[in-house]
């Protein structure tokens, strides 16, 4: 059916709900169980794919031949895991989806008979009586049930083209699953837990220097491991654990480009930033740690340093654009990352132009390092607001040089001193004569234009808004972009 021989599609899935993800460091039993199960299964097949905590799978063809058949292999794996004191289910079938369902059946039956084998070619029959909810698409399942399609068999009977037309790409994928086909080929690889490296300090390191020095050799070890498996990591997680149990974790962009020294430097920045304990600038976990860092850990020391490669990708080298690319030079990147270490990841932004009507909509600020390449970022961050659309009602050029992140309250009065109001039909109660910004002294308005009414997102009750914009020039020579919304005047930008 897929063009792939059926025997190559045989997958063995092991399900073991007692697993914990390896990131839960210190949670002794869970973390150990993870390593134990992975290594137990690896005894049978070195290349396994950890789908998510608690489930791993591998292509069964080779190991089954070696261990004397699928049934025998499944029984041995189940025994090995059960010997660790953990419940598990083992399922073998054509394709990942069926194997996962089979392993769940095995788990539900209990330890007496944890292995379920779906014979080759029997996947469709195995799946047919299952409820559509097993597809893991609640919305789709709900819709199918209301259409009278209750089982996978009934869903599979729908012609693929019709399923695609009616339910879209998601539906088509689910339809493939229901027919016993693979949505994607199995990608086997060594488990990611293998690739992290760590070093323990005993006695705990009081000074950053020792940790940074160790980090350099640790980074060398990490890079060697990654290179040996032909991988590169997009980010590297630096995890520092103090002897009082406190953790400082921060992800650093790596992209396979950092040298050992550069990684060590990042460890230093992380420690410096944490020790400086800048309030307010920290983010996430490190923010919590910095609050207590002042008294607790600073007196103690660092007991463990771990480097965890994050988002592994095939190492393909790097090809820079021939020209026209704004390549972030090393110097700039170093300075930016340094500031991020001091003030937090969000402190350094790169602007990306986007579409929109008001000046504040026309640029998106992306934290430095979150962008792969200028082109990529533009595409992903402008998804909702492309630049190249007309945006009727946008403020005409020239653009204001000062765009307030939060509009400033203002008061515009007419000649008699009463607030200028705009009616629903865009009529003014009087000509603007004086402007006072943020409760400042009123200044005479020498020229003005407006109102330019804008009705944005009227179809969305939450975000709908009606405003009227004005341009005002005051006697001191300043020009302002003002907006009236709900009877209030706000200054959005100024043309300094």
């Amino acid at each position: 059916m897929t063009g792939q021989p059926d025997r190559d599609r045989r997958v063995l899935a092991v399900r073991c709900p007692a697993w914990r993800p390896p990131s839960l460091v210190g949670a002794g039993p869970g973390a150990r169980a993870f390593e134990l199960v992975v290594s137990a299964v690896q005894e049978f097949c070195p290349r396994i794919e950890v789908l998510r905590p608690g489930i791993c799978a591998f292509a069964v063809r080779g190991p089954a031949r070696y261990f004397g058949g699928e049934a025998e292999l499944g029984r041995k794996i189940a025994e090995a895991v059960t010997r660790l004191g953990l419940d598990c289910g083992v399922g073998i079938a054509d394709g990942m989806f069926a194997a996962l369902l089979a392993s769940r059946d095995g788990l539900l039956t209990g330890p007496s008979d944890p292995v379920r084998i779906v014979p080759p070619g029997g996947t469709a029959a195995f799946l047919a009586p299952r409820a559509v909810t097993v597809l893991g698409e609640p919305d789709l399942a709900d819709l199918l049930v209301r259409l009278g399609i209750r089982t996978l068999g009934e869903f599979a009977a729908v012609p693929a083209a019709e399923a695609g037309n009616r339910f879209g790409a998601h539906g088509l994928l689910a339809h493939r699953l229901a027919r016993g086909l693979d949505p994607r080929p199995l990608s086997a690889g060594p488990p990611p837990a293998d690739l992290s490296v760590q070093i323990e300090f005993d006695p705990p390191a009081e000074q950053s220097e020792r940790v940074v020095f160790a980090a350099k050799s640790l980074a060398g070890q990490l890079h060697a491991q990654l290179a040996a498996s032909g991988l590169a990591c997009v980010r590297v997680e630096v995890e520092v654990i103090c002897d009082n149990g406190e953790e400082i974790t921060r992800l650093w962009r790596h992209d396979g480009l950092l040298s050992e020294l550069a990684v060590a430097e990042r460890v230093r920045w992380q420690l410096d930033g944490w020790r400086a304990g800048q309030p307010g600038g920290e983010s996430g976990e490190s923010g919590e740690s910095s609050e207590s860092g002042g008294d607790g850990c600073q007196a103690g020391g660092i007991s463990l340093l771990r480097l965890v490669p994050d988002q592994l990708v095939q190492a393909q080298g790097r090809q820079l654009g021939l020209w026209g690319d704004a390549v972030v030079s090393d110097r700039v990147a170093r300075a930016a990352v340094r500031i991020q270490a001091m003030l937090g990841h969000d402190a350094v932004r790169q602007p990306v132009l986007s579409g929109g009507r008001s000046p504040s909509d026309q640029a998106v600020l992306v934290p430095f390092g979150d962008t792969e390449a200028p082109g990529d970022s533009a595409a992903s961050y402008q998804a909702g607001r492309p630049v190249d659309r007309p945006w009727p009602g946008r403020i005409p050029a020239p653009a204001p040089a000062t765009v307030y992140p939060l509009p400033r309250p203002a008061r515009v009065t007419d000649g008699s001193g009463s607030l200028v109001e705009v009616t629903g039909r865009g009529q003014l109660s009087g000509e603007p004569a004086r402007l006072s910004v943020a409760a400042g002294a009123p200044v005479a308005v020498t020229a003005w234009t407006g109102p330019w009414p804008v009705t944005e997102r009227w179809w969305d009750t939450e975000q709908a808004c009606r405003k009227a914009r004005f341009q005002l020039v005051t006697a001191d020579g300043a020009a302002w972009l003002a907006v009236v919304q709900d009877g209030r005047w706000l200054i959005e930008a100024s043309y300094d």
């Binding site: 602007p351 000046p359 020239p398 204001p400």
Partner: protein, 251 residues
């Protein structure tokens, strides 16, 4: 080896003839050394600026290692930063949360070579010193008036790294000061028209090069957001394409 040295030493004399023209093409290096750090720098000791601003600056460009004060935050800062960025420098705008990115792009400052740090935190002189290490051009609005010691430290960092510190505010030791002395918006009337451009008189003075202040009229911005020189003695209305009619009404 010997031949290569001879070639290099033979370059400056030929370049000195048309200095101003060659500066624009960034082929000339001034002979002055800035400091120990200048060895790592690429390119000349001067950062080119937009053509409209050349007459205002002593060498027709921004001198590396100098501090330039440009009054309060305004399009003038953006215009000063646009030239170096177009020539390949990286610019960071620090302490300016209301940075108008679209105005910057219109003025010729490529947002792809721009970093924004809206809030520098309490220890901002240290952060700025780190930035000077990485970027050729730092546009800074100091959150508060720096103590003299911090100020001198930053000036030393500017010289050491051969960067340019462009202060959106006042700076006591600035080599060059620019300000908008007079301005006039065109295109907008009482209830009609719209803002089309601003004629601004920019005045430059400072210890650095001018014996007396220099003043130039600029479109800051022009109708398309670009910064250009106002054509002198040519009838001001003709210098503003498309806005002559409205301009007359405002006077």
């Amino acid at each position: 080896m010997g031949a290569a040295v001879a070639q290099v030493t033979s370059l400056p004399p030929s370049g000195r003839d048309g200095l101003a023209g060659l500066l624009a093409e960034r082929t000339v290096r001034s002979g002055r050394e800035i400091g120990a750090g200048s060895g790592v720098l690429s390119g000349a000791d001067l950062l080119p600026v937009l053509p409209a601003l050349r007459d205002l600056l002593p060498d027709g460009a921004l001198q590396r290692g100098s501090v330039v004060a440009a009054g309060s935050w305004s399009l003038l800062c953006l215009a000063l930063a646009a030239g170096p960025v177009a020539a390949g420098a990286w610019c960071v705008a620090a302490g300016i949360p209301e940075f108008g990115v679209l105005a910057a792009a219109d003025a010729g400052l490529d947002p792809a070579r721009l970093l924004l740090i809206p809030d520098l935190g309490p220890n901002w002189p240290q952060a700025v010193a780190s930035l000077l290490d990485g970027c050729d051009l730092v546009v800074l609005r100091p959150p508060n008036r720096p103590p003299a010691q911090a100020r001198r430290k930053l000036e030393a960092a500017v010289r050491r790294h051969g960067a340019v510190l462009l202060v959106a505010g006042d700076w006591d030791g600035a080599q060059l000061r620019l300000r908008i002395a007079a301005q006039e918006w065109t295109g907008i009337g009482s209830g009609h028209g719209r803002l089309r451009g601003r004629r601004a008189q920019v005045v430059a003075d400072g210890r650095g090069g001018w014996s007396r202040p220099q003043a130039r009229w600029l479109w800051l911005p022009g109708p398309d957001g670009a910064v250009t020189a106002v054509a002198e003695e040519a009838g001001e209305s003709s210098a503003a394409p498309g806005s002559g009619a409205e301009q007359a009404k405002i006077g």
